[in-house]
């Protein structure tokens, strides 16, 4: 059936494209399973554990929004490679629980898909690799350009920013980012903050 060949080729192309798209999602899902495991080990051992042998990054924290039953393991760094596997802890920003702004960034269509569901007042728990959990409350959202985030990393408050691409349902990537701002409400442990 030679005249079916173009049709088959078209179908094949469609499959490949679909497969590539699905692969990105599959990778994101599978990586989170491996990361979850590595993160548990990290908390247990106190050392960074790579999720797989050739990984270029390692889990540093876990973000959880209990109301939405959403959670994701955050990786060190926010390079494209890292973001394919999980949210990234943006370089040059503080760790969760510290004075300043901790910025985590992830893809809008995978790990931070839940971000659009997060409402003001929702509680966001961030567990660090030492096992301590910090609870933040979402108190605002902004839409900014990627290079004009307006995030002040030196603020004296204890803030958290979750960032992803905006608009949520766009198909191509643009310069706009959606930022969810949250402020620390309680450190899980009784460890005093510096200077208090």
């Amino acid at each position: 059936m030679p005249r079916l060949l173009p049709v088959l080729a078209l179908a094949l192309l469609g499959l490949i494209l679909f497969g590539q798209g699905a692969y990105i999602h599959a990778k994101a899902l599978l990586a989170q399973v491996l990361l979850e495991r590595a993160f548990r080990k990290t908390i247990a051992t106190g050392h960074p554990v790579k999720p797989w042998r050739w990984a270029d990054t390692w889990p540093v924290a876990k973000i959880e929004v209990k109301r939405l039953h959403a959670s994701a393991i955050v990786l060190a760094g926010s390079s494209g490679q890292a973001l394919a596997f999980g949210p990234g802890h943006v370089e040059q920003t503080v760790d969760a629980g510290e004075r300043g702004v901790a910025v985590y960034s992830a893809h809008r269509d995978t790990h931070f898909r839940f971000l659009k569901e997060v409402a003001i007042g929702d509680e966001i728990d961030v567990t660090k690799s030492d096992g301590r959990t910090f609870r933040y409350r979402a108190d605002g959202s902004t839409i900014v350009r990627f290079d004009q985030s307006g995030i002040d990393p030196l603020t004296d408050r204890h803030e958290l920013v979750l960032s992803t691409c905006w608009p949520f349902d766009a198909l191509t990537s643009g310069p706009e980012r959606y930022l969810l701002h949250a402020t620390l409400i309680e450190p899980d442990s009784g460890r005093p903050e510096s200077g208090s």
Binding site: L10, L13, L17, F18, L83, V90, D156, L171
Partner: protein
């Protein structure tokens, strides 16, 4: 199928025409898709790098500093402005720097300003002064937590306070609380650092953008040691007392946007007749009061703080002085700073030992783009420099690793050719597993053969997180090998590079652009090909010395050996011994002839602290012991470190003026060359009376609230965080895939449907 068959009624001829049209569109569509898909596949790898965060902000070395921004409830407004005055005095071997930052609040709200700024990594910050109105408040050194607490307390109480903290060894933060509406607060810090020397050239660098590049070379010197000792004391004394007599700069704010306008003045007292003095990145005018002194100022007044200031100077004589010796008496101790450049040229006639060089090249994904091009060019250059008597091998690694030859081979043209094509074909991809590569490079198969000098040249951007593991590998396995780190790209992990080179007893070379490959690699090869001065030791004949570094490193060609010591008495001499190639070498310096230096105790303490930090990371000392050492040194010498901060609190309540002040009142001492009116186009102190400070803001509650919630924080713009790209094309691809599948299914049915009746 019956349905389709049922509606099958068109004549054959119409069908085939329709089919021809369909086929035409199909072929067109497929062609377009194939091209599109090919482009997609081709762009797949670059897509990784495109998704990487924009380096401009995430990598501090590329960040530009900019204006301070004021954060308000509604977003950001251009508000508190900052001017910077840098006043440097070079006294022989040391640089005393005074950095004045001007925080001004043009708004109607009370402000807290924070400014992050870089300093040279060897800089010892020891002084913080805050100028409020007519008073100068001098900061005290405190443990970091305690300093923070004092600052917070003052902030809550509405007092003016300033805090200097170390973020990294080369990045500091100044915070200033309670700048009233229209008020101006000056914060002044001072630091001490040694002058850098390489070969015949001395240099100093003032980093002005956050993310300075470390220059790990030790340093310094400036006085001729003559046989009769008459050359001692040539270093002139600190001319700071002259400062007020220096005429102010003529500034031209019209030509410069007032974004962190920075003014720089250097008083250069080299201690020897000066030859060429050159500023590399700024236009300067240079005055020469006498042949050993220069005064350097910016030609066009303040510049935006967006590039490092680099000044180099050379002696008028052909060769730089090869020995310098300086002393300072502080407290009960004498401090000594000695720098010795071992003779180099005399030894060059000697035939160097053949070398066994192991080249390691990082071709991981993070090296993508220009980094891999620089790395390959550097390695190809290095291969070209090998001598036939040398042996070599090449290792490339990402998350996998290849060793080109099973054992190191002679550098015959055939072998070098093989290696060159191997290197030429490398692509950047994959993860970064540095430790196995380092282990392979350090495994010395010819240990029995002492006729070869073994060198490892390691080209990488150092983008790894398990630095500690790499350090441990080097210290455990280095054997007789020496590790020369070559940092590639604009923002290599300099911490990793310097530390690895230090542990591997080699050097660190930074190649920031393709243009630098030739020059920097030539410099590296001068070090690789000439015998190092090894087995160095220093012995004091009479004095008890606390020497740093405690184990003297090897010194490569044209590098000076820098020693700092604390002595119980300044008597006798110090003998420095070592071997240059295979010839023993020694020099004896009589301590009594040392010239008076400035700030040597700080330089000594800073190096001791750096030593303790190294011991901490290499686990030669427990973290607790190292911290204890650092804290004791920092408190004794008043230095800002990881564990200590400087804090200044203006005890004067923010009340109507005219009351006696509790603190010592000093006359305002605005830095010379710095003119507020000319920087800002108006007078420094606004006619806002202290009396109005609180009254303006209503009752105390509002005040506290204003300080707490609406975030009265001004921030430097390098601070604003750049966000990574966070969208995948997954959905786009999936949708395109589904559309294609649907279309092909329809077409399939369509063709099927028309072929069936046949």
């Amino acid at each position: 199928m019956t349905i389709y068959d049922a509606c099958e009624s068109s004549p054959q001829i119409r069908l085939s025409r329709r089919m021809r049209i369909a086929l035409f569109f199909l072929v067109e569509g497929v062609a377009a898709l194939v091209i599109g898909l090919a482009a997609l596949f081709l762009s797949f790898d670059p897509a990784w790098s495109a998704e990487q965060p924009h380096h401009a902000v995430l990598r501090p070395s590329e960040a530009r500093s900019g204006s301070l921004l004021l954060k308000t409830d509604d977003g950001y407004a251009d508000a508190t402005r900052l001017g910077i005055d840098v006043d440097l005095t070079v006294s022989g071997p040391t640089v005393r720097a005074r950095v004045t930052q001007i925080f001004r609040n043009p708004t109607k709200d009370w402000m807290e300003a924070t400014y992050v700024y870089p300093l040279p990594s060897g800089g010892a910050v020891d002084t913080l002064k805050m100028v409020v109105g007519d008073r100068i408040v001098v900061g005290d050194i405190k443990e970091k937590q305690q300093a923070r607490a004092i600052y917070e307390q003052a902030r809550q109480n509405g007092q003016k306070a300033a805090l200097t903290e170390q973020e990294r060894p080369n990045i500091f933060t100044n915070s200033v609380a309670n700048i009233g509406p229209g008020e101006t607060v000056l914060v002044q810090i001072e630091y001490q650092e040694p002058v850098q020397q390489s070969g015949n050239e001395f240099s100093l660098r003032v980093p002005m953008v956050v993310g300075p590049r470390y220059n790990p070379k030790p340093v310094v010197q400036s006085v001729d040691l003559r046989a009769d000792g008459s050359g001692w004391g040539a270093a002139s004394t600190d001319p700071v007392p002259d400062r007020d007599r220096i005429t102010p700069e003529v500034l031209d704010p019209a030509e410069h946007a007032p974004i962190n306008p920075t003014n720089i003045t250097v008083r250069l007292n080299a201690g020897f007749p000066l030859g060429e003095v050159k500023s590399h990145h700024h236009q300067v005018k240079i005055e020469s009061p006498n042949n050993a002194t220069r005064i350097i100022k910016l030609t066009e007044g303040p510049v935006p703080a967006d590039r490092d200031f680099e000044l180099t100077w050379k002696p008028a004589a052909e060769k730089a002085p090869s020995v310098g010796l300086f002393r300072e008496h502080v407290g009960n101790s004498d401090y000594l700073l000695a720098f010795v450049t071992p003779p180099a040229v005399e030894q060059a006639q000697q035939k160097p030992l053949p070398r066994e060089v192991i080249f390691v090249i990082d071709n991981s994904g993070s090296m993508g783009g220009t980094s891999i091009i620089q790395a390959k060019a550097s390695l190809l250059y290095a291969l070209g420099r090998l001598q036939p008597a040398d042996r070599f091998n090449v290792i490339r690694f990402d998350d996998t690793m290849d060793v080109l030859f099973p054992t190191p081979v002679a550098a015959s043209s055939a072998n070098v050719g093989t290696a060159s094509s191997f290197v030429g074909a490398l692509q950047a991809r994959g993860g970064t597993e540095m430790v196995p590569a380092m282990r392979a490079a350090l495994s010395d198969s010819n240990r029995e053969d002492p006729n070869y000098v073994r060198q490892v040249v390691f080209l990488t951007d150092g983008a790894i997180g398990n630095e500690q593991q790499l350090f441990e590998t080097i210290s455990a396995l280095r054997g007789r090998s020496r590790v020369f780190m070559v940092g590639i790209g604009s923002a290599p992990n300099t911490y990793l590079m310097t530390r690895a080179a230090e542990l591997g007893r080699g050097t660190f070379t930074h190649i920031g652009s393709v243009e630098q490959v030739d020059e920097r690699m030539r410099g590296l090869f001068a070090k690789l090909e000439n015998p190092a001065v090894t087995g160095l030791s220093a012995k004091f004949s009479e004095a008890n010395a606390d020497l740093t570094p405690s184990v003297l490193p090897d010194v490569y060609r044209d590098e000076p050996l820098l020693l700092a010591a604390r002595l119980d008495k300044l008597a006798g001499s110090v003998e420095i011994k070592g071997r240059i190639g295979d010839r023993p070498w020694s020099v004896t310096l009589p301590l009594a002839n040392a010239a008076e230096g400035k700030g040597l105790s700080k330089v000594w303490a800073r190096r001791k602290i750096a030593d303790a930090e190294v011991a901490r990371t290499t686990r030669q000392a427990t973290p607790e012991d190292a911290d204890k050492t650092i804290l004791a040194l920092a408190l004794e010498h008043q230095l800002v470190t990881r564990l200590t901060s400087l804090v200044a609190v203006d005890k004067t309540p923010s009340r109507p003026d005219g009351e006696p002040l509790k603190l010592a009142e000093l006359p305002i001492n605005l830095p010379a060359g710095w003119d507020f009116a000319k920087v800002f186009g108006e007078r420094p102190r606004q006619p806002v009376q202290p009396a109005e400070r609180r009254a303006d803001t209503g009752d105390g509650k509002v005040q506290v609230a204003a300080l707490k919630r609406p975030v009265p924080v001004a921030t430097p713009s390098p601070g604003t965080v750049q966000l990574p790209k966070t969208a995948t094309d997954a959905e786009l691809k999936m949708i395109a895939g589904v559309i294609l599948l649907t279309v092909s299914l329809l077409l399939f049915m369509f063709t099927r449907h028309q072929t069936m009746p046949n």
